[in-house]
Amino acid sequence: MALDALSDVSDEALLVLYANGDQAAARALTLRLTPRAFGFAARVLSDRAEAEDVVQEAMLRLWRVASDWRQGEAKISTWLYRVVLNLCTDRIRKKRPSALEDVAEPEDDTPGAQAGLIERDRMQALEAALARLPDRQRQAVVLRHLEGLGNPEIAEVMDIGVEAVESLIARGKRSLTAILSPRRAELGYDNEV
């Protein structure tokens, strides 16, 4: 089947096609799911190389469960986020005691910081701030505000209740505010509210 013809096909239908031997479905699912899984893993781990390993492993697991996939029980993207999150958690645990939240915020002594940060620097500031959050807060904030998932889906991914998700997100955002506020002017948010 042509790749263009699969653009409107759901993830579940694509997985059925893949399980039935459709090679175009394999490519379509790869192109559709890999960027989302990689973006999430890279932000949770703050390490692109490790994110590559995690996503490759998660996608391999997806291919292996394709023929046994129970349709209607879970969204494929939710399942994939959950697998990626678990793999990330395993790696973060192995990295302790130099865990991500213990990493000090990098000194921003670049010349650009003096004249105001450009957009790339804002992103770096956000990534550094996210890296300082406790694991679960970072995961919840990334899933909600960067991956765009709803709270019930995040609860499913993180295997916790919706209220716990709301609490993690609220605390995470408060922490981000506290971390970023001293650099508010550098980030270009210098108007008084």
Binding site: R27, P35, G39, Q56, D68, L126, T177
Partner: protein, 128 residues
């Protein structure tokens, strides 16, 4: 309330929006490796026998088959049942000839195949 030294809710939301638009993209080599793994897994599965769909059975026969551990025993029981019904409904000619010859040898005029299953109670009543 935020002061000029604090990030506001809108500031943070704006930062998130910029970050969503600037999502980390996977390198092409990763995409190629994942697709290659997908095709390899697919090819490996094609060489194995196809999986049977796990469809729940409906109707009486599948349940009977389950109880009698297979269709062979079910078919045998069904055949024996039909044979019994056939023998009861249609008396074979060979059996009639046997009963007639026995009747003649015993001097019985009535046909032996006429059995009075509900005999009269008159003889018992006449004795009081």
């Amino acid at each position: 309330m935020t002061t000029k030294f604090e990030m506001g809710e809108e500031d943070l939301d704006g930062l998130f929006a910029e970050a969503r638009a600037d999502a980390p993209l996977p390198p092409g080599s990763l995409v190629q490796r994942i697709e290659a793994a997908a095709l390899a897994e697919q090819a490996g599965r094609a060489s194995r026998p196809p999986l049977r769909a796990n469809i729940p059975s409906r109707g009486l026969m599948p349940h009977l088959s389950g109880w009698f551990r297979g269709l062979g025993l079910t078919a045998g029981l069904a055949t024996a049942t039909l044979a019994g019904v056939w023998l009861g409904a249609v008396q074979p000619a060979g059996l009639s000839s046997v009963t007639d010859s026995v009747s003649r040898a015993l001097g019985v005029t009535a046909s032996l195949d006429r059995v009075d299953l509900i005999p009269a109670f008159d003889p018992f009543q006449s004795e009081g």
